[in-house]
């Protein structure tokens, strides 16, 4: 069921990589431009609405929130965001000739656990607790982070290492879809990083526990990233417009 790209990506060779890069520059250059500013805004809006919906369900339906029951709230967030993000971003997949819509969805689903692993490793390197009582929370948190960071990118970019590097290491997004991937992801990570700051303070507030403040930070950063990406997409579209004129 998975697309050809996946099979090829699992046994990458330098030849292949170069080929895919050429392809992505040749064929992948056009798809990003297809998405209009309004469409980008709608995608962002849907993601944010999903996030709000998750909080609403947790709060109204089950009457708990991030502070009282972090792991279940995080679970709601990622389970509600998951279809939204994957289904939306798979529409903007690169290399349309090589990869079907379902293939992109599959890549996104594969990206979820991998991204979660990456995020949790990062968090542990920075000092997240690893005791058994925090295991569930860490897992849920990293799944949420994965949805903010890795999943959209894996749906869109697939296995194109150069694009990954360009967006996440060099921060040089190209085209409006890549702005939608890059900025919220960076926002979530940086926000989470700042969110860890109040944890050592002796205020003895319940939200200072791992992963509550970090989740708040990450969500806040994500929202900032979303807003920024909207701004960039608008500005980008306008400048494109000017150029085209």
């Amino acid at each position: 069921m998975l697309c050809f790209d996946l099979i090829r990506g699992s046994i990458p060779s330098s030849m292949d990589r170069r080929k895919s890069r050429e392809e992505s520059t040749a064929t992948g250059a056009s798809p990003p431009q297809k998405i209009s500013a309004t469409e980008a805004l709608i995608v962002n809006l849907l993601c944010v609405v999903g996030l709000g919906l998750a909080f609403c369900v947790a709060n109204k339906g089950y009457s708990f929130d991030l502070v009282t029951d972090p792991s279940r709230t995080l679970f709601f967030i990622w389970i509600i965001e998951l279809p939204i993000v994957i289904l939306l971003f798979s529409r903007y997949r690169q290399n349309r000739q090589l990869c079907t819509y379902l293939g992109a969805v599959g890549r996104g689903l594969l990206g979820l656990p991998l991204g979660a692993l990456l995020n949790s490793l990062g968090a542990i390197a920075l000092g997240a607790p690893v005791t058994f009582q925090y295991l569930q929370k860490t897992v849920q948190w990293s799944l949420m982070m994965s949805l903010f960071t890795i999943v959209p990118a894996s749906s869109v970019l697939g296995f194109s290492w150069t694009d990954w590097r360009r967006i996440f290491a060099q921060t040089k997004p190209n085209g409006s879809v890549e702005y939608l991937i890059c900025l919220p992801a960076h926002g979530a990570v940086i926000g989470g990083w700042f969110g860890a700051w109040p944890m050592p303070l002796d205020w003895e507030k319940p939200w200072q526990e791992w992963p509550i403040s970090v989740s708040y930070g990450a969500i806040a950063g994500y929202l900032v990233g979303v807003v920024a990406s909207c701004g960039f997409v608008l500005a980008h579209g306008r400048s494109k417009h000017v150029k085209r004129d």
Binding site: I124, A125, L126, A169, A196, P200, L201
Partner: protein, 958 residues
Amino acid sequence: MAESGSVGGRGKWGYIWRHWVTLFLHLLAILLFTRGFLLTRTELPFYSHTSDLSHSPCFSSSSSSSSSSNASSGWTEPAVNRLVIIVLDAIRFDFVAPSTFFPETKAWMNKLEVLKNAASTHPSSAKIFKAIADPPTTSLQRLKGLTTGGLPTFVDVGNSFGAPAIVEDNFINQLVQNGKKVVMMGDDTWTQLFPHHFERSYPYPSFNVKDLHTVDNGCIEHLFPTLYEEDWDVLIAHFLGVDHAGHIFGVDSTPMIEKLEQYNNILERVIEVLENQSGPGSLHENTLLVVMGDHGQTLNGDHGGGSAEEVETAIFAMSFKKPPSFVPPEFDTYSCQMDLNGKNVCISSMQQLDFAVTMSALLGIPFPYGSIGHINPELYALGAGRWNSDASQKLSESDFWMQNYANALCINSWQVKRYLDAYSASSAVGFSHDDISRIASAYAQAENYWSHSTIELLLDRNNGSDTLMPVLKRQINAYFNFLSTVAELARSKWTEFDLNLMGTGTGIMVISLIFQLHAILRANKQHGLTSSSPRGSWITPGTTFALFLLGIRACSFLSNSYILEEGKVANFLLSTSGIVALRQSLIKDKRLIESVGFLFLSTFCRFVIEVGLSKQAATSAFMKDYTSWILNIASALPVWDYAAEVVPMLVLILLAFWLYKVTSRSFCVCPWKYVILGTILSYMLIVVHWITDSERFGVALVPESIGRTYIPRIVYAIALGQMLLMAFGQLFKDNYLDCKSNLVAKASAMLSTWSSTVILLSGKQGPMIAFASLVGGYFLMRLNNGEEDAKEPRRSFSIGPFPVMQWSLFATCLFFCSGHWCAFDGLRYGAAFIGFEEFMLVRQAMLLTIDTFGFSIILPVFGLPLLVATKHQTNVGKHVLFTQLSQMYTIYGFITSIMMTFTILCVTIQRRHLMVWGLFAPKFVFDVFGLILTDVLICLASVYYFGQGKDDPELKSS
């Protein structure tokens, strides 16, 4: 142009002199600041004895009157037989005093009604005092102050370093020495301070602030039965509920009011019990009840500082002697107000300093040696009823009491003078000459009155009240004058920060920062001149990020929570820098393995730091309920134990093997090669030492005594020998090495020399941490090296501060990894005695310093040249290399000084904070040591590394 010329002209001193200037500035700044901030007092090991009184000009209790009491017991005549002290922790003055004394009535006032009622209905036998405590107003320091009658400071230099037990002479000690039996219940701080003094004790843990009731209920449970028992003379009950309620809920809260109401009930019952038993011949015939706070608290429940809310607490004293005694009106300092019920309540004022001596005088025991308070007349008067029965006197009760009081003050003044003389004679930092002469003249005046006029009048019993009173008053005033001079002087010396000195110190620190920054930028400009690259290229993302990290780390010192978790904060920043480095290498698509490896290493450090913190939790009160799963695993598996013995040795052998490989490579030549070979020998000796030390192996390779003491000494001796060899190696100029390889060889030799001693002192964890630092250092060098390749060679002449910042963060993490933390119980005292049995201050202090700062300062500072030398693939010439090295040392020093400056600012801002003595001051002391050591080592390292020949062909060719 002129600058580079001057550097070339002065040779190696051109690189070095700035470091020396920095060292000098720092020493000056620290010296001034410390003199203003760290108040020190020397504890004297002397004790008062009953027989001492014969040296005084005063009457002893036996000769002053013909009273029937047995005269052998003490200095003054006992006025009360039994004493009940109820300490209510953190009682504010307005908890006790009626609300009419204050402009506004608040919810927490008028709760301890029973004390107020007693004071208003029995004005002659019950009294409320406003008691003024002296900062630091923390329970431990206050209890110490209350019992010794002195002014405890942060650094009470004495032989109790590390243990909290009071070794100075004190009230409790005097009680025990004079055969009084003391029963204690409540706060376990008392049993820490007086481990062997109590007849019986019922201590309860005091550090769980959230627990409002355990200590109080325990107190109540034992207090009432004990009141009916006969086997004690002094009872101490210490209630903690109000203190904890304040810390958690604040003063204006329901739990606080409930606590106060509970105390009101308890006190009511206590007074009832005592009153019922106070008939002639009963148990409490002559008992004094004292209800007191040890300090106050702010509305938020904080205490520790010197604000009025914190220092103002209350003492309530009630005598159950019947009939009530007479109060001499001359010394009353009270103010009276109507309370809400229209009764007259009078409140006097006293210093907590006077508590120990007044109680001693009432019980008739010798005054504590170091007490500097005076006998409070009103509190002392509560016991005056004792002398009413003396019928042989012509004098009125009041006159007789005055006479007695004058004599007690005479003893008191003599004792204080004796203490001050002994203190000035034995303390390194005594009082100034002016102060001593001022005190001496005040004492001489009082003494003069006493020996020339008063004593004759007192001896001549035929004098009437008219002749006696004026003389006595004059005498008492003279003593008051002397004693208040002393107290004032002592306060200025032991409780007040000198803000001017602190400010000056901070100012000089800032000047040194500017100086260092100037030096760094200047070196940069030189690079610009020599490599003709455009100026301003130095401001790169790396620099910005390094400054950002530095800023966060420095600002984190402003909060006590971050200081407590400093290891984790440092590791967080180290990991962050690792992630940024990973990103950097992703961009360039090289050195990926190194950056991932570095990230894993910092993750590893993180776990080690957590194990270290759990060790801290075992001793530190702050983190008692922190349990570590790692320790649980470690204790569960016996295999773990065995591995813990064997793995360090294997790692050490691995290190030795690695060193051997290094020496066999080409760049190591004559002197350096032998140095490293010596280190390999040391490593082998350490392995042998550990094998003989552990019981597990049971192989007696060498007799145990030799293994235990001589092998470490041989290792130290080898290290010293290596040092000498390197010093001599400096003298021979070797031409067959280029400058860069020479620098690498020198650095490796230096590091290996230190490593053997550091590993030996660190114990079993040593090899692992040495290995980790080696790997970490290697990764950092490689990463830095990678950075250079990507840039154009021209721009790479100056090294950005990012690698140095990483280097410094990594060093900080190693400090915490090696099981240290910034508190005095974080020192590994055991390390000071490896190889030596007996204590010698200088030697042991050096070993302790090497152990504490070995991995975090000594090795990183000496290893810094490797970062410079490995950066360049090609030989870049001596001048460039040395300028860079000098700049890097300046950057490293700059980072350390920024930390120090912020620590200084922090302790200045937080000098009245609750944690100032528990947390900020130890951190300050550690940072001071770290800074000075870093500066000194940088100076030494620069002398060592820059001591190369003058010729510089590479520079000319470039």
